[in-house]
Symmetry: C2
Subunit: 337 residues, 2 copies
């Protein structure tokens, strides 16, 4: 029996706990953005009126936010003073998932009854906050894929001369790869031009503009380019589900193999749909991630779905890193078949 | 120890339970609107693909929604079949509070980090969905105030000739009062003209247009009208907190006494701010209601705050009905001092 739930179960009825958890989930996302979680993590205590004054926050709203965190034992509150509660460490580590839910995807979940109606599911039938999702996904990626990613990189037989990141977003991964392989050059490809502007800025700040080529194009439809020929290492994170359904995924894998003829290693990391987990045992994130994609009509493949396409797509599965921190994240280490 | 929490606490970690509760809270609001909760309540079981087909819903979204409810034991799911779970009865009764949170107030909670910053708190600095809030508040009012309201009405010494409802909204209360007092006439006063249009429609449907006067005016600032002179019973529900802060509340109570010189009974029902409840013991709704008003900068008085203004405002507290189902709801039965 878990102590943290035990502490509330005697006094609060279960449906009130569900309600208060929903309020607290929004408060976790907000508290991260407002610096409250970091201040608590760093200092172990926080005087709310002082924090509000120093950070330009409304004192009554700040107190209300802290009450929401205290309701589910993320903090302990004594009047205007808060300290980490029994669930703080876990909530702190998982804050990016809460932010993804209550900031980035809030508008999608708010409109669930409209979005679920078949008659409404045409055109741009849902909205999410792309900037907020990028903010959360940067930390989600660090939390889930990064340790396993560097394990895979360390296991490479040789240093690649050129790397390409498909769906590079704000460019964090290509800059990290250039740091790891100082002699290499890098291509970053993404369909989102605002993200590429951030990547260009970060590249300039790192003094790496000479070594980086940023390309605004759609990985699913892009044509060959001369600079693709030299790429030896391909990476692609948190976008592989966009390759699906199956037939398109096979075609995309084949086309990637043809577009990058020198790429012998392809590290493909993504979340996969959970299988064999009872509804009540779902870990943090999986339920929200999967329901969001159900609502958006985006297919999320299982690990078995992925395993069924590699050979047909022209790749051999060299190794599989099952991360499974939240939503069955996996890194497939592929080599040219 | 509560069985419903017990069932999940052994297998799910507490922070995953908080996350899944937040997803489930949205699903409760949606499931109410989509008729899923009523179908389960009526039939005791529901075959998801059949329900989706009959109601024009996307099957995958409907299944995902049911998984969210199952994650916190509101339903039991076996493949595509769902039945009420251990928390169903309680969630069903409290569905309007979840809808208020995840539909009506979702945009306010999504923007918590922006709204909490003092620099942003000017002009129309927050949005909520007024239509969704009206949808939820109709049921919230029935659930909380109605039984006590009719007790107070039954206790009146005589039948009023004319009643007036301050903040009448869509007119439900004045029509109910005319049903109870068939010889009476009624005034409905509200600042929201769309709500008055609904009230006019409902009045016409009930064949009571001759007996009802609807007035578009702001209770806080309105001038005297000849028809106010005959009003013997005043009611005002779920808007009393708008009278505050204190000085304005005293002035408003005095002005109401002067505007309605024949009104000897004033039934004033509203939510009050909880006091002396530990953060972890907050019942359903209170945390969301109070944090929402903190964010919006709206003062919510305590019962003691209210008790301190009546004498000064020209009214005597005849009786106090403490309901306290969710947010310290109370009906003050006032008589002219």
């Amino acid at each position: 029996m878990n102590d943290a739930l035990n502490a509330t179960a005697d006094t609060v009825d279960p449906v009130a706990y569900i309600f208060n958890s929903a309020v607290a989930a929004s408060a976790i996302g907000a508290a991260w953005e407002l610096g409250i979680l970091d201040a608590l993590q760093a200092n172990g205590t926080l005087e709310l009126p002082q924090f509000a004054a120093e950070h330009g926050l409304d004192p009554q709203s700040t107190l209300g936010l802290a009450r929401a965190l205290a309701a589910v034992d993320i903090v302990e509150r004594i009047d205007t003073k808060v300290m980490p509660g029994g669930n703080f460490a876990d909530a702190y580590r998982n804050r990016s998932f809460f932010h993804w839910l209550t900031r980035g995807s809030a508008e999608l979940f708010r409109r669930m009854p409209d979005v679920a109606r078949t008659a409404n599911r045409t055109g741009e039938f849902y909205q999410r906050d792309a900037a907020a999702i990028a903010y959360a996904c940067k930390e989600i990626s660090e939390l889930t894929y990064d340790p396993w990613f560097w394990d895979a990189i360390d296991g490479l037989a040789s240093s690649p001369a050129v790397v390409a990141d498909l769906g590079c977003g704000s460019g964090t991964r290509i800059l990290q790869l250039l740091d790891r392989f100082p002699a290499a050059r890098a291509l970053g490809i993404d369909v989102a031009e605002p993200a590429l502007a951030v990547a260009a800025d970060a590249t300039a700040k790192a003094g790496l503009t000479e070594k980086v080529t940023l390309i605004a194009d759609d990985v699913l439809t892009m044509a060959a380019r001369p600079e693709f020929a030299e790429v030896e290492l391909l990476t692609c994170f948190m976008m592989g589900h966009d390759f699906w359904p199956r037939q398109r995924c096979v075609a995309t894998l084949r086309r990637v193999a043809a577009l990058f003829p020198s790429a012998n290693t392809f590290l493909l990391g993504d979340a996969t749909r959970s299988t064999g987990v009872a509804d009540k045992d779902l870990p943090v994130f999986a339920l929200g991630f999967e329901l969001a994609h159900d609502l958006m009509g985006t297919f999320i493949p299982t690990i078995a779905d992925w395993e069924s396409v590699f050979a047909e797509g022209g790749w051999r599965l060299r190794e599989q890193h099952r991360i499974g921190i939240a939503v069955g994240e996996v890194i497939f280490e592929l080599e040219r078949a």
